[in-house]
């Protein structure tokens, strides 16, 4: 009887654990889908808050904070009315939480670069000195941590695309980066369904614009 009791206990605890992680998995998947389809600033705000709630509840998962920061960053880039500094400050705070859980993470390092870009865009001429170096150094860190992260090259290409040719930017410089990025997307391993996978379509679209 004892064995039966023990095996049941075991079965049940696995069941609970499964339910727990299933809730996380499902919650994340649902919100990632929402983030992918987000269009209006409100969509981004809502989904960012949802990710943050998951992060606060889980306490040991970096991905919710990562996505919450990402939602804020995308909001900053897409909503012309957004106060970029506020949004980027919020992203920075979330990035710090993610990093505390998962230090030395290439994806998080890349987010830092993106948030710094947002700060810089508030007043590029006056701020590039302060934030430009963060944009670059964070991107370098991201490469050091995972040289095969396709999103880094997409982001680097995106930045070069917007940089005038006189400063070493332009389509010609950006194109090989988008190509490299796309090649890496092809070979990228799917760690899990909730691991960062965004950017392939955008890289493809940007490559088209380089032609």
């Amino acid at each position: 009887m004892k064995t039966v009791f023990l095996s049941f206990t075991l079965l049940l605890s696995t069941l609970c654990l499964f339910a727990q992680s299933d809730r996380f998995q499902k919650g994340m998947e649902a919100n990632i889908a929402l983030l992918d389809s987000a269009k209006s600033p409100d969509d981004f705000t809502t989904v960012a808050a949802a990710f943050e709630r998951i992060g606060d509840a889980e306490k040991t998962q970096w991905l919710p904070y990562y996505y919450a920061a990402l939602a804020n960053i995308w909001k900053g880039f897409t909503d012309a009315k957004a106060n970029k500094d506020d949004v980027a400050d919020k992203a920075d705070a979330l990035i710090a939480k993610a990093e505390a859980i998962a230090p030395k993470n290439s994806e998080i390092a890349l987010e830092k670069s993106m948030a710094a870009t947002l700060h810089m865009l508030v007043d590029p001429q006056a701020r590039w000195q302060q934030y430009g170096s963060v944009v670059n150094s964070s991107m370098e860190t991201a490469k050091q941590l995972d040289v095969n992260n396709p999103r880094i090259y997409y982001w680097e290409g995106q930045n070069l695309f917007g940089t005038p040719t006189q400063f070493g930017g332009g389509k010609d410089k950006a194109k090989p980066l988008f190509e490299k990025s796309l090649a890496l997307y092809k070979t990228a391993k799917h760690v899990s369904s909730i691991y960062p996978a965004w950017g392939e379509k955008s890289a493809q679209a940007m490559l088209e614009r380089c032609k």
């Binding site: 049941f8 808050a49 949802a50 870009t117 001429q125 590039w128 430009g132 930045n159 930017g169």
Partner: protein
């Protein structure tokens, strides 16, 4: 899930399983009973306005929502029992409420309190303009603006002159603010007073400031009513805060026909310390060959300047910073003497200046901060004036005292040592109290034609100030300063008070009041030390509306001068005066695409009786109306910025005072008004990358329209002849190439995203 568990329990119905069943029931209740409770409500701020984008959640669960634009929210939760609802939003204090979740819906009315935030809180802007990169209410210019103001040639004072309150005075350096003379404005670096902020000047020619704008992360230009932390400036203070650490290791070089410079700045790998050195050499020989100057330069202007710095970040986030600059320069020029048809004045300067500043700021814990500084500077001037004949040979006059006085040799040394400490304690919210003291020792030695006089002053000051924030919308600053100067053996108490009130979104009103004292000038103290402080009382009211793209300010002031130094008929403190006026500032980065511009207008009504003035007169540095229009346009396609600055001022008065030998009093023998002043300055900067270097080509010219500029008139001793005071050349041209390496600016999204 519920069914599944129930099924299992059914199958396992047996006595032996009772224990297990009990266990299962517990689990099913706590984990698998899914019934949802609806939580809804609204979020408002303490003024009953809906708050949008607030995150509402059941703490430690996934369940929650964000408020919509009417502040409403609604969501369902599966959580049960005692739970905490957590409400968070940027700019507001977080809010938590305990609720018991059963089956009924819950409606919440949440009132959020605005978070007191230094960046959002109202700030006293009366009499304050800030240039820097901080997001603050008084910040109207960025550091970059100083570099890109047409005609200002990257000189801090020249840029500040485009703001309201400052006069377009071109015959002397210094900022002439609101009816105040140039020496009534003092400059401070990291809290300590700068004794010789400008290069030593020749009579009737203004000189540049010694300090590069790149040294500072913020510059506050106070046109009055400034903080009790500063003193000894009757009219205005220019408060500069040095940068902490450079962004990157970099080398730089500058090449221009008049200037060569090179520098290196290293940021340690751990980004906790840095050091740097710069050297520059200026020589105007080639320039003066091409651009003819009115005076005859017999010693071509030449300057060497070097500076060095180190900065260390402390463990607690404080900084130790050291900056030193050394400059040596000379020049000599000849101009026709006003009292003779053939005699010339040959004026020469040899100057050596050494400035040192160490500052230490530290977080002491428990809300305490320390800001301290030490500075030492020495300035050696060797000034000579020699009367020369048509062959440039020395000439002496024995029977004409008005001529013989013009042959002189003046050696002057000015030393200033200073120590200062300010403690700051954060009170409740963001209210703060600051107090501290400073001590200065000034040593001045003048040897005039062999006669030496020494002035020594021990100056002590203690001050306290508090910033009180009642809410983000109401702030008050109260301060007092007590000063003692040994050379005049007098103490003074200077109270300061300012208030700010936010009247609406982006709009605020502020008021400032203050009493300011200043020691008499050295020239006067050399005659007698039996003098008191000169005194000014300021009253300022200001309205400002500002957002990301626009700044609009209007300010009115009244200033009363008392105890000004009179030098005739006797030297004493019987002078007085007033200044009042209205100033407007508008900056607009948005209305005209790709054009950023600002306009300043100042109206000034001032009179004073001081020095040898026969009575209350409008001083010769005061214009009634002054206007500046600064425009900046960046053309992305060609990576070039075009900057124009147009300054206009109505004519200024000039006088010829003649001494009545009987009474010792002066009378106005002649007076007039100069022609209006016009100056259109232009600069362009072209930026591009050349290999690993980032290059900026700057070209600029002052007085593009070649307007005649008259700053005033000099009179012959008998008053029969007058001569206009004009710039040494109508225009000043500059072309330079600035290179820097190491700062990787390729990612610079500067323009692609504009």
């Amino acid at each position: 899930m519920v069914y599944k568990i129930n099924y299992i329990t059914f199958v396992l119905k047996s006595k032996l399983m009772k224990k297990l069943l009990f266990f299962l029931t517990i689990i099913s209740i706590s984990n698998f009973l899914v019934a949802q409770v609806r939580i809804s409500g609204s979020v408002r701020d303490n003024r009953n306005r809906p708050v949008y984008g607030v995150s509402i959640s059941v703490k430690d669960s996934y369940d929650g929502s964000t408020s919509d634009s009417s502040g409403n929210f609604s969501f369902r939760t599966t959580e049960k029992g005692e739970q905490t609802i957590s409400v968070t939003s940027i700019g507001f204090n977080s809010f938590e409420q305990k609720v018991t979740l059963a089956t009924e819906s819950i409606t919440l009315s949440i009132v959020l309190k605005e978070k007191l935030d230094e960046l959002k809180a109202v700030m006293v802007t009366a009499g304050t303009f800030e240039a820097g990169d901080k997001k603050r209410a008084a910040t109207v210019l960025s550091t970059l603006d100083i570099y890109t103001t047409g005609g200002a040639n990257a000189d801090i004072s020249a840029t500040v002159k485009t703001l309201p309150g400052a006069q377009q005075v071109g015959e002397q350096e210094g900022l002439f603010v609101r009816g105040g003379a140039g020496y009534e404005t003092k400059q401070f670096i990291d809290g300590t007073l700068v004794n010789n902020p400008y290069f030593t000047s020749t009579p009737d020619i203004a000189s540049r400031g010694r300090f590069s704008p790149a040294l500072f992360k913020g510059t506050v230009f106070s046109t009055g009513g400034y903080s009790a932390l500063y003193g000894q400036a009757l009219s205005s203070a220019l408060i500069m805060e040095s940068i902490d650490l450079p962004d990157q290791t970099a080398a730089n070089a500058s090449i221009s026909p008049i200037f060569l410079g090179a520098g290196y700045q290293e940021l340690a790998k751990d980004k906790k310390s840095s050091w740097g050195v710069n050297y520059g050499y200026t020589n105007l020989v080639a320039y003066f060959k091409v651009v003819k100057q009115t005076p005859d330069y017999f010693k071509m202007p030449q300057f060497h300047s070097g500076d060095a710095n180190f900065r260390i970040k402390t463990k607690r986030g404080g900084f130790i910073k050291y900056y030193t600059t050394f400059a040596a320069g000379k020049l000599g020029l000849r101009r026709g003497d006003i009292d003779s048809s053939y005699i010339k004045d040959a004026f020469g300067i040899d100057n050596i200046n050494w400035y040192n500043n160490v500052s230490y700021k530290e977080n002491l814990g428990k809300g305490w901060k320390l800001n301290s500084g030490l500075s030492y500077s020495t300035n050696l001037d060797d000034l000579t004036n020699q009367l020369q004949d048509e062959n440039n040979q020395p000439k002496t006059f024995i029977n004409a005292p008005w001529m013989s006085d013009k042959n002189f040799v003046l050696k002057s040394r000015q030393d200033l040592s200073q120590i200062r400490a300010v403690f700051e304690k954060r009170l409740k919210g963001i209210s703060t109290v600051r107090f501290g003291s400073e001590y200065m020792f000034a040593y001045n030695k003048n040897t005039y034609n062999g006669l030496t006089a020494v002035l020594k002053d021990h100056y002590n000051a203690a001050f306290a100030e508090t910033d009180i924030y009642l809410t983000n919308n109401v702030a008050a600053k109260l301060g007092t300063r007590v000063e003692y100067s040994s050379i005049i053996d007098k103490a003074s108490i200077a109270p300061r008070l300012s208030l700010a009130y936010k009247t609406g979104k982006d709009a605020q009103v502020s008021l400032a009041y203050g009493t300011f004292y200043q020691k008499p000038e050295n020239m006067q103290l050399l005659q007698t030390t039996n003098l008191g402080y000169t005194k000014a009382i300021h009253y300022i009211v200001n309205y400002q509306k500002m957002n990301q793209y626009y700044t609009f300010r209007i300010e009115a002031f009244y200033k009363k001068y008392e105890d000004l130094v009179k030098t005739a008929p006797v030297i004493d403190n019987s002078g007085e005066g007033y200044a009042k006026g209205i100033e407007v500032f508008l900056r607009d980065k948005k209305t005209i695409k790709n054009l950023d511009y600002w306009v300043s207008y100042s109206y000034l009504d001032t009179k004073r009786d001081y020095l040898n003035y026969p009575g209350k007169l409008k001083p010769n540095f005061a214009a009634d109306h002054t206007v500046s229009l600064v425009t900046k346009r960046w053309v992305t396609k060609i990576n070039t910025g075009f900057n124009f600055t147009y300054s206009y001022a109505t004519g200024r008065p000039y006088y010829n005072f003649q001494k009545n030998n009987g009474t010792g009093k002066y009378i106005v023998a002649d007076e007039g008004k100069t022609m209006d002043f016009h100056n259109l300055g232009f600069s362009m900067n072209y930026v591009r990358q050349v290999k690993s270097a980032y290059a900026v080509v700057v070209a600029s010219v002052t007085n593009v329209l070649n307007s005649s500029q008259v700053y005033g008139y000099n009179y012959s001793y008998n008053g029969l002849r007058k001569e206009a005071i004009t710039p040494p050349a109508k225009q000043f041209f500059f072309v330079g190439l600035f290179l820097s390496w190491g700062v990787d600016r390729t990612q610079d999204v500067i323009n692609g995203n504009l």
